[in-house]
């Protein structure tokens, strides 16, 4: 806890320092970056210490506000989230220092760093808070810090819109959390977590409140709408932090709430599984139909949150039906995926930032051939892409494997029930489908950005990013590989965290089951090594075979069509065209087509974009409806004093007659 506290101090202090130094941007950036890295490393060490010792620590100070108390604590569950937060923040800070130099007005750099450090600190405080009011204050401070970071490029209209949507969404979500905590603290009258308790009658309500309130931050469908707007709008190192770790605080909140609610009934698990399936499939469908690289990544975050939800749901069902393996593997899968997604999504967003920095656009159909020009970015992006598709030999595979095994373990127990088949179909079908679609999505992303020929001058003249950004990319890529190769470690590290959600009566057997999870993971790690070895050998053989043979270079085989131009390449949109057409029920591209006409057509035009289904057909109409009703009611205030006096008279009469009559 000591180290943790010091780290927080360093983070916050650095933030204020850089705010004060904003007259001299370079020093401000240097200070903030240094403190961010240092602080998060301290925090990382502190968190690891608690995680390994497995014994929670708490500190409490008085706080002179009603119902508030400054009580912080670190238990395994918190630390599971502290780990990725600290790691991603540190890397993003190193990256951001160089990134901001080129992309941010010097006068704003100090402010931007202030909010960055604040965001980091508040995220850590959220997972460490042990008092409802404190949690809410940190939670909202976190949202506001990230809101200001999203708005940092506020000259652009779409950024302002994104910021507003984000602010509105997070605020509405939070208002549900207020009720949640007040209901939890209702019996004891105190808002300290250790005083929380839920009346059985209310548990369902509380769960729903938590699901929607925290789901809004986490990005569950259908309350994900802010996510694809805000993440592209933010500076890339911020998107990495937001998408990589900030949305995970929503998952943390959900888990923390579950620890108060006791034995979960079956429908909680089913709800989570359902939401997970919806978020997973729709999220990846929206993702693969995007044309903006960062929007694509944002939607893919929705998909990954869906996978986490699948794991949680499986785990809860395991608890409900007392299937130890299912509970353990499901929860472990979810938690491990939290870490994995933080790493590879952070990596991908940083990569996207590098692409934007190098080629000055995020439009997939204007990019191409960057691998030659930005080799490091390209290679690391490839690693991230494989990881997010859950492919071996990378970390993404581990968490999906755990979740698969959790479900199969449940079924293998031969509980005869159709609902188990349902579970299998939902979870396994979703994971498989999502895996396939993710492959589509990220071959599209990687191929369109880094392979083939450049589709625009900007990308033709792209240049590799500077050392700091390269190093941070490489660091995260290496982290993905290392997590994968150290697979058997993670169940042991995360076990105690997963157990905090399991009711005490059921802990022992769950713990045992969690221990058994190391076997497949160890085998998987071995397989990874085998694979790496095999590809190494094959590469050597190929080199050996080609040594001294004739190697020609020529144009790509164009099937007899002479001199194809770069613009004739298969574009990203046409690449996913068939899938989009197959699922046009969900993915509705808005096409603006002006075909060439006449004998000598001057120009034609074709533009298509995919608006968010739920924003387009649900939230948009609802908000418009409310505004419409409001505008209808405006005649109440239409300026005639007679009417105003009439209101008073009627009020008096009605009240007198009603209350006395």
């Amino acid at each position: 806890m000591g180290l943790f506290g010091v780290g927080l101090m360093v983070l916050i202090g650095g933030g204020f320092l850089s705010l004060g130094l904003s007259k001299t941007p370079k020093t401000a950036a240097a200070v903030a970056c240094f403190t961010a890295v240092g602080g998060s490393l301290l925090v990382l060490v502190g968190g690891l210490a608690v995680l390994c010792s497995g014994s929670p620590v708490e500190v409490r100070f008085a706080w002179h506000v009603p119902f508030g108390s400054c009580s912080f604590g670190l238990d395994p569950l918190s630390c599971v989230f502290v780990l990725p937060i600290a790691a991603v923040v540190a890397v993003a800070a190193v990256y951001g220092r160089e990134y901001l130099e080129h992309s941010c007005r010097p006068s704003m750099i100090g402010v931007s760093w202030f909010f960055f450090n604040l965001l980091a600190a508040t995220m850590l405080l959220v997972v460490a808070a042990r008092n409802g009011l404190l949690f809410l204050v940190c939670w909202e401070a976190m949202s506001l810090a990230s809101f200001f970071l999203v708005m940092s490029d506020y000259e652009r209209e779409e950024v302002r819109r994104a910021g507003w949507i984000y602010l509105a969404a997070t605020h509405l979500g939070t208002s549900l959390l207020l009720v949640l905590f007040l209901l939890l603290g209702r019996k004891s009258g105190s808002l300290d977590f250790d005083q929380f308790s839920s009346e059985p009658a209310l548990a369902g309500t509380l769960f729903v409140l938590a699901l929607v309130g925290f789901g809004t931050k986490a990005g569950f469908i259908p309350v994900h709408v802010w996510l694809p707007e805000a993440h592209p709008a933010a500076p890339s190192h911020v998107s990495a932090v937001m998408s990589g770790v900030m949305i995970k605080t929503g998952i943390y909140g959900l888990l923390r709430t579950l620890t108060f609610l006791g034995q979960p009934p079956a429908w909680w698990g089913w709800t989570l599984v359902g939401i997970g399936a919806a978020s997973g499939i729709l999220g990846i469908l929206f993702a693969l139909s995007q044309r903006d690289l960062k929007r694509l990544l944002a939607y893919s975050s929705v998909e990954n949150i869906g996978i986490i939800a699948l794991g949680l749901g499986t785990g809860l069902l395991g608890i409900t039906h007392r299937v130890p393996a299912m509970a353990a593997l499901g929860l472990l899968g979810a938690l491990v995926h939290v870490l994995n997604h933080a790493l590879f999504k952070g990596l991908l967003f940083l990569g996207a930032g590098a692409v934007q920095h190098g080629a000055a656009t995020r439009e997939l159909d204007r990019l191409g051939g960057l691998l030659k020009r930005m080799p490091v970015t390209g290679a690391t992006f490839l690693v991230g892409a494989c990881a997010v598709c859950g492919l071996p030999p990378l970390n993404g595979f581990l968490s999906e494997l755990l979740i698969y095994l959790g479900v199969l373990a449940g079924v293998a127990e031969q509980r005869a029930a159709v609902s188990w088949a349902m579970l299998c179909v939902l979870v396994i079908g979703t994971l498989a489908l999502v895996g396939g679609f993710a492959a589509v999505c990220f071959t599209k992303a990687f191929g369109a950005v880094f392979l083939g020929e450049p589709r625009s001058d900007a990308s033709r003249h792209a240049h590799e990013v500077g050392p700091a950004m390269r190093y941070s990319l490489v660091t995260l890529a290496a982290a993905c590989v290392l997590v994968a190769l150290s697979a058997p470690l993670w169940p042991l590290v995360f076990r105690s965290a997963a157990l905090t959600i399991v009711p005490a009566t059921f802990r022992a057997e769950t713990a045992a089951a969690a221990g058994r999870a190391t076997v497949p993971l160890a085998a998987a790690a071995a397989a990874f090594l085998a694979f790496l070895a095999a590809s190494g050998v094959l590469a050597a053989v190929r080199k050996r075979l080609l040594a001294g043979r004739r190697i020609d270079r020529g144009p790509t085989w164009d099937c007899g069509y002479a001199a194809p131009t770069a613009r004739m390449q298969y574009t990203a949109s046409s690449y996913t065209g068939p899938l989009v057409v197959l699922f046009r029920m969900f993915v509705r591209p808005r096409v603006d087509l002006r075909p060439p006409e006449g004998l000598f057509p001057i120009r034609g035009r074709y533009a298509s974009q995919v608006p968010d289904l739920f924003r387009e057909y649900f939230f948009g109409p609802v908000f418009a409806g409310i505004a419409w009703v409001a505008s209808r009611l405006r005649w109440l205030q239409q300026g005639r004093i007679q009417l105003y006096v009439l209101y008073i008279a009627l009020t008096v009469l009605v009240l007198l007659v009603w209350k006395l009559g």
Binding site: R634, Q637, Q638, G639, R640, I641, Q642, L643, V645, L646, I648, A649, L653, L656, V657, L660, G661
Partner: protein, 214 residues
Amino acid sequence: MSNWLDAVLVLLMLTSLWLLGSSRLQACIRAVALQGALLGLIPLLSKWPDISLRLGAVAVVSMVIKAVVLPALLRRAVREVNVRNEVEPLVGFTTSLLLGIALWGIATHIAGRLPVDVPGLSPLLVPVAIFTVLCGFLLIVSRNTAVMQVIGYLGLENGIYVFGWAFAIEEPLLVEMGVLLDVFVAVFVMGITIHHLSREFDSIETDELASLKD
């Protein structure tokens, strides 16, 4: 003296109806002045014969103000802005009268709900008071000129004072302050109105005054 008091109350009620029914500003001003005078009579009648000096003084002062000063001010205002001598109703006079009858019903209903156990108090008093207040409201709401709204406001005040005289007579501060306030409001409202009429707009239609809205 209670039947005298009742007579005065009935007269009050009739003046209110007269206010509702008359189409001439001058007539309305006269009606409101009469109301003021009748109002001054109430305490004297209800306390007859033992009338303290203070009571008499207050009664007289209020009579002077309500029956003389304010009507004079109103007339001056009307003269100054040389408006047509029309009331310009939003609601026709017959309708207003019918509404007046309805208001009388409501007033009696409410009064019925509010029993008073004060010996020697006319049963007419509460309904008449409420009725006068409601008529004041009706005037403000249903007439289109600023002056008529002032008149309506005065009618409403008169209604309230019926209460004041009847019950709160022992309450020294209230009444005097009330009188004081009447003067104030009158002065200010009139000042503003005259100002407004003479300077900004060249009519006293309150339609002119509907530019601030949503």
